[in-house]
């Protein structure tokens, strides 16, 4: 057993038992961050804070929500919204955060793509981040079911039908997932469980992995410069703070991070108090009805691009295209064959690839929202084909990139 001495203070008492000084050093004061990174690198912290908001508001909603097909709708739209003191606040925070979290995830992702932060030793950061994206998507989908409105019901119907695998007709699998022939009580209960327990646990684990993956390769920087973190840290610790290329995570970098978080939170609560409805679909204020489909079904905005990739094709091709869109981002570190981990602006054709991908996804998102008719389906079809084409082209255009 370790040797314990009489503690001189509470801090010392804890330190002997929990090594809090070491912990603080590893996690904060000697966790080194490059100096030349901009506000886009604060999105990780913004996401962590948003996840915290989702967790806390979710806990308060959980106290009154009823996972029962007859009660769920009223427990949300009447009990929580009208009766529970400040219940509306938790619901609006939860709803807005669920939507905004995807906006920030996309910014975070595209920042990573632009600066090549998935390359050369940072592959696990990218992969764990993509796993987090999938986990958040599952979390969002299962949460969307819970108010048991019309969109909830029909989104549940359509998404679970995807698992029949088109011509494979795995209807047994779909019924197994639902626990019934259609979305019903068993379905609501199991998605409730997934939403409040299993997926959040997975997310917490993945966040741990995502952070852990940063430890050794360290965070990338604006110029894609390869920094010798050990040497720079030594310089910093010996007093040459100005000459060192790195700073401490806490409290130095944190102060910048928190500045961004502060601005973000003002924007966030502006939405919560004045524009919460952007995150709520009017159709979901009708109770679920298994005998009537809403005239126009679409998912939340953050799934529109992958939904649009599915839509213009026949069932099987559509499913394959959809599956392609779901997994292809995982492959990014391996499809990008260039040795450079520098901003897209300093690379070859990748510069155009990046902007083409971004614009294409915005077009897909817009087309996913409008009804699938006439000109819109044509644009949607070409945008979907462009998406697939861009990914096929990626290894070729990056292979010939010169080292910078």
């Amino acid at each position: 057993m370790a040797h314990f001495t009489k503690a001189t203070s509470l801090h010392d008492w804890l330190n002997q038992r929990l090594a809090i000084d070491t912990l603080r050093r590893v996690l904060a004061t000697e966790y080194w961050i490059p100096k030349n990174i901009n506000f886009l690198w604060a999105m990780g912290m913004v996401l962590a804070i948003t996840f915290g908001l989702l967790l806390i508001s979710g806990i308060f909603l959980l106290m009154y929500y009823q996972p029962n097909v007859n009660l769920a709708f009223d427990s949300v739209n009447y009990t929580i919204m009208q009766e529970v003191g400040y219940g509306w606040l938790w619901r609006h925070v939860h709803g807005v955060a669920a939507s905004v979290v995807f906006l920030v995830i996309y910014i975070h992702m595209f920042t990573g793509i632009y600066y090549g932060s998935y390359k050369n030793g940072r592959e696990i950061i990218w992969l764990s981040g993509m796993l987090l994206f999938v986990a958040f998507s599952a979390e969002a989908f299962s949460g969307y079911m819970l108010p048991w409105g019309q969109m909830s019901y029909w989104a549940g119907m359509v998404i679970t039908n995807l698992f029949s695998g088109g011509s494979l007709h795995a209807d047994g699998l779909v019924e197994w997932i639902r626990g019934d022939y259609v979305p019903a009580q068993a379905f609501l209960n199991r998605f409730f469980m997934l939403h409040v327990l299993l997926i959040p646990l997975v997310i917490l684990g993945l966040i741990g992995l995502h952070f852990g993956a940063l430890r050794i390769p360290h965070v990338n920087n604006q110029d894609g410069e390869e920094i010798d973190f050990d040497a720079e840290a030594k310089k910093y610790l010996s007093g040459d703070k100005a000459g060192s290329k790195v700073i401490r995570f806490a409290n130095d970098f944190m102060s910048k991070d928190m500045m961004v978080v502060g601005i973000y939170l003002i924007f966030f609560f502006y939405l919560v108090f004045y524009h919460y409805d952007f995150a709520m679909d009017p159709v979901n204020f009708d109770p679920a009805n298994g005998l009537k489909t809403p005239t126009h079904i679409y998912p939340e905005w953050y799934f529109l691009w992958s939904y649009e990739i599915l839509r213009p094709f026949s069932t099987n091709v559509g499913l394959i295209a959809f599956a392609f869109a779901q997994v292809i981002f995982f492959m990014l570190p391996f499809l990008d064959r260039s040795p450079n981990a520098v901003p897209a602006s300093r690379r070859g054709l990748f510069k155009y690839w990046f902007w083409a991908m971004l614009i294409d996804m915005i077009i897909l998102t817009a087309m996913g929202k409008v009804p699938p008719e006439g000109l819109f389906s044509t644009i949607g079809l070409y945008a979907a084909l462009t998406f697939i084409g861009l990914w096929i082209a990626l290894p070729f255009i990056t292979k010939f990139e010169k080292k910078v």
């Binding site: 029909w154 119907m157 359509v158 039908n161 995807l162 088109g166 011509s167 007709h169 209807d171 019924e175 197994w176 997932i177 639902r178 626990g179 019934d180 022939y181 259609v182 019903a184 068993a186 199991r190 298994g290 005998l291 009537k292 489909t293 005239t295 126009h296 079904i297 839509r311 094709f313 026949s314 069932t315 099987n316 559509g318 009804p371 699938p372 008719e373 389906s377």
Partner: protein, 178 residues
Amino acid sequence: MKNSSRRGFMGKAFGAVAGVGAVASLYAMKRTWDPLPSVKAAGFTTLDMSAYKENELVTEKWRGKPIFVLKQNAEMVKKAQANPKDMERLIKIGNDYFMVCVGLCTHLGCIPGYNPDEQSFLCACHGGMYDFTAEVTKAPPPRGLDIPPFKIDGMKIVLGEEGPEYKKMLETGVTLKV
């Protein structure tokens, strides 16, 4: 050496026990996720076919799913007779012909809407279309609407039971099992 082989044996023995336990618990988890027996048992609906009006779509309910019943009028029957594929999808009860099918689009499960003037269905979700016998006429749906298992009983039909007429439809591929 002796010790390490003993440890090796213990490791393998533990692995075997854990393996059996893991398989058993996975099976239990799979079964827990299965639909309940009560859900499976409550699967029968009887429809009285003498009550329907011609070219008027009625939506019934079976296993929580919408069931379309459309009594064909003379004009539709004539159109169907010209096309054997359409005729096979109709159910003859007494002297009348009926289209009975699950009202969920075979694409991704939305409920198509019926237009009695054009005698066709439109699925608004992704623009799929069906004719008056619910045969598909415009993709993305891969096939016509599925016909639920039925048994003819005089002027009634029982949904959920497989009568000879339904079995024949399965054999000839007019519908898939739902």
